[in-house]
Amino acid sequence: MAVAQLAVPIVLIFQRAAILRTGRAYKFRTRPVDPADPFRGRYVQLAFDQNHAPWRSHAELQHGQELFARVADGPDGFAVIQEVQVARPDQGDYLKVRVSWWQKNEVYFTLPFDRYYLEETKAPKAEQTYRENNRRNSTNGNTYAVVRIKNGDAALADLYVGGQPIQAYFTNRKP
C-alpha cells in the first residue's frame, strides 16, 4: 500500500517528463491574473487568445464536455487552434479541452495549462508585468507560454515575459 502511495506521484513525474522530453513545442499567447492555491502555492492564472474555435457541427454541446482541439503553428510562429471535434484525431497534434460555452458557430473552451506556479513573491510581480504589457488591451507578442504536446497531453514548459523565460526575467530585472 505504501508502494502505491509513492507510485502515484512517481507516475505523474514520468508522464510529465516524457512529454517535456519528446513532445513538440508550441507557443501560446497569454494574458494572466494572479490568484493563490493553498495546496500548490502562488501561481499566475493564464488565459489564452486561442481559447475558441469554429463549431461546424449541429450537435449540442454541454458545459464541461471534453473535446479535441487540433493544434498547428500559425504564420507568425504562434500556435493556432484549427478546429475542435468530438472524436480523437487520427493524425497531427491535438489537445484535450473542455467546453466553457458556445454559440451557433463558435465554441469557447478551457485549455489544460491555465496556471504557472511561481515563488509567492514573484507571482504578483508577474501579474504587474503582464498588466504593463497589456495597457492597450492587446497581448504583447513578448508574453507567451511554451507548451509541449504529445498524444493529446500537454506540459507547460515555460512562461516567457518580455521575450525571455520568466525566471530569467526576474533574475535580470533591475531592482
Partner: protein, 445 residues
C-alpha cells in the same frame, strides 16, 4: 451514568469504605460496574485530541511551507524533497505499528500525518512539474490512497477525513455534462463502513463511532443532493425526507440509550434536518417549477440506466425509512409520538412530489407540509410533556414557532387568511390548556 454522577461516586466511595458504611469489596464491584472515573478518561481524551491536532498541524505546516515554491533548487532536488514527508510518515506509521500498536493517540496521530502527506506529495509534484490538476481526480486519488490507513492503524479520524474527502469529490465532480447522477459516491462511502461497524460494535457510545457518525451524517446531508443532482427535478424532496427520517429512526433503534446529545448524532441531524427541509417545503418556490420541468423533459431524466438508478435510489431512501418506521410501530406510545411523526416524512415527501410533478398547482404540496410541520412540532411538544423530555418540548416549540413566523411573514397568503388561521390555532392552544388544567387540577403558584 452521567460523568458528573460518576465523578461524585468515585469521590464518595473511599469515604464510605473508611466509615464502614460500604464494604471494600462492594465498593470495588461498584467501581468495576460503572467504569473508571471520567477524570482519568478526560486525561486520555486530552492526550488523544492533542496528539491528533499536533499531527494535523504539523502535516498542514509541511504543506504550506513547501507551497512556498522553492525556485532556488533544481527540479530533481525539489522532487526528492516532495517525497520526504510521505516517506517519513510511512516510517512513523511502521514504528507505531511495531512499538505502540494499542496507543490511540499514537495511532491516530500517525495516521493523520500519513493521510495528509499523501495529498502533499501529489500536490508538490504537480506544482514542481506544472501539472494542471483536475480537483475531482486529485481528491479521489487522495482518498483512495488514504483509505487503507483507516484499517491499518484503525484510525477513526482518518475515516472521518475520508468521508469528508468523498463528499468533496462528489461536489467537485458534479458537472452538468449529461445530467448524470453520481452513484460512485455511495460506493465510496461503503468502503469505509466496515470500520464504522467495527468501532460501533466495540463501544457504540464511545468517541470513535460518535465522531464518525457526526461527520458521516453531515456528509450524507450534503452528498445526497450532489450525487443525485441529475435525477428528476424535485426528486430531492423524496430523497431528503427519506434520508433524514431514516437517519433519525436508525439512531433511535441502534443508539436508544445514548446519555448525551453528543452521542446522538443520527437523531440530532435527522430531526434538525427534517425540520429545516419541512420548513423550506412550506413555501411555494420549491414546488413551483417541478411540474414545468418534469412534464416537458422527463424523458431526458430517465433516458439512461444511471439516471434511472439515481431516481430509484431516492425512492429507496424513502422506502427504507418507511420500513424502519413500520418495524417500530408496534412499540409506539405517547412519549414516542414525535419520532412516529418524523417517520411519516417520506409519505408526505412522496405525496407532495407526486402532486407537484403531475399537476400544475402546488397548493396541495405546500399545505401538506404546512400541516406536517405543525404536526411535527405539536407531536414533539406532546411527547415531551408526556415523557418529561425537555429537549422534545423545546424542539416542538421551535418547530411550531418557525412554522408560525414563516406564515406570518408569508406574503403569498392574504392578511385575512393569515389572521383567521392564527386565531384558530391560538384558540386551539387555549382550549388544550383548559383541558389539561381540568385533568390535572389547579396549577400550584
Amino acid at each position: 451514568m452521567k460523568n458528573k454522577h460518576l465523578q461524585w461516586l468515585h469521590a464518595e466511595l473511599p469515604g464510605l469504605v473508611r466509615d464502614g458504611i460500604v464494604p471494600a469489596d462492594v465498593a470495588e464491584k461498584l467501581q468495576q460496574h460503572y467504569g473508571p472515573s471520567p477524570v482519568h478518561g478526560g486525561k486520555k481524551l486530552a492526550l488523544l485530541i492533542f496528539g491528533i491536532l499536533g499531527a494535523a498541524l504539523i502535516g498542514s505546516g509541511v504543506i504550506l511551507l513547501v507551497a512556498h515554491n522553492w525556485d532556488d533548487w533544481s527540479r530533481p532536488v525539489r522532487t526528492a524533497l516532495a517525497f520526504v514527508p510521505l516517506v517519513a510518515a510511512i516510517g512513523l506509521a511502521g514504528w507505531v505499528l511495531n512499538f505502540r500498536p494499542t496507543s490511540a493517540p499514537w495511532c491516530e496521530g500517525a495516521a493523520t500525518v500519513w493521510a495528509l502527506t499523501i495529498g502533499a506529495a501529489i500536490s508538490l509534484v504537480a506544482q514542481i512539474y506544472q501539472i494542471h490538476g483536475d480537483p475531482a481526480r486529485f481528491c479521489l486519488t487522495w482518498i483512495l490512497l488514504g483509505l487503507p490507513i483507516v484499517y491499518i492503524l484503525r484510525s477513526s479520524v482518518v475515516a472521518s477525513l475520508y468521508f469528508i474527502g468523498a463528499t468533496t469529490w462528489v461536489g467537485c465532480a458534479f458537472l452538468p455534462v449529461h445530467r448524470a447522477t453520481n452513484l460512485f459516491y455511495w460506493g465510496l462511502l461503503a468502503l469505509a463502513m466496515p470500520h464504522l461497524a467495527g468501532v460501533w460494535w466495540t463501544h457504540r457510545y464511545g468517541w470513535r463511532p460518535t465522531l464518525i457518525s457526526w461527520v458521516l451524517a453531515i456528509c450524507l446531508c450534503i452528498g445526497t443532493g450532489l450525487s443525485l443532482a441529475g435525477a428528476l427535478p424535485g426528486v430531492w424532496v423524496v430523497a431528503y425526507t427519506g434520508l433524514l427520517a431514516l437517519l433519525y429512526l436508525a439512531g433511535r433503534r441502534w443508539c436508544p440509550k445514548a446519555p448525551t446529545l453528543w452521542q446522538r448524532p443520527w437523531q440530532t441531524i435527522g430531526a434538525a434536518g427534517l425540520g429545516i427541509v419541512a420548513l423550506v417545503l412550506t413555501y411555494r418556490w420549491p414546488w413551483q417549477e417541478i411540474y414545468s420541468h418534469w412534464q416537458s423533459r422527463y424523458q431526458v431524466w430517465i433516458s439512461g440506466p444511471v439516471l434511472i438508478a439515481g431516481n430509484l435510489l431516492a425512492a429507496l431512501l424513502a422506502i427504507a425509512a418507511l420500513v424502519a418506521l413500520a418495524r417500530e410501530l408496534p412499540r409506539v406510545s405517547w412519549p414516542d409520538l414525535d419520532w412516529m411523526i418524523i417517520g411519516l416524512a417520506p409519505v408526505c415527501g412522496v405525496a407532495g412530489y407526486a402532486m407537484a410533478a403531475t399537476h400544475e398547482s402546488y397548493e396541495f404540496s405546500q399545505v401538506l407540509f404546512n400541516v406536517y410541520l405543525f404536526g411535527l412540532g405539536l407531536g414533539a411538544l406532546v411527547a415531551g410533556i408526556r415523557g418529561n423530555k425537555l429537549g422534545s418540548v423545546n424542539a416542538g416549540l421551535l418547530a411550531l414557532s418557525a412554522s408560525i413566523v414563516a406564515r406570518f411573514f408569508d406574503s403569498d397568503l392574504s392578511f385575512l387568511m393569515r389572521g383567521l388561521a392564527f386565531i384558530l390555532i391560538g384558540s386551539g392552544f387555549l382550549a388544550t390548556n383548559v383541558v389539561l388544567l381540568r385533568r390535572k387540577g389547579p396549577v400550584a403558584p
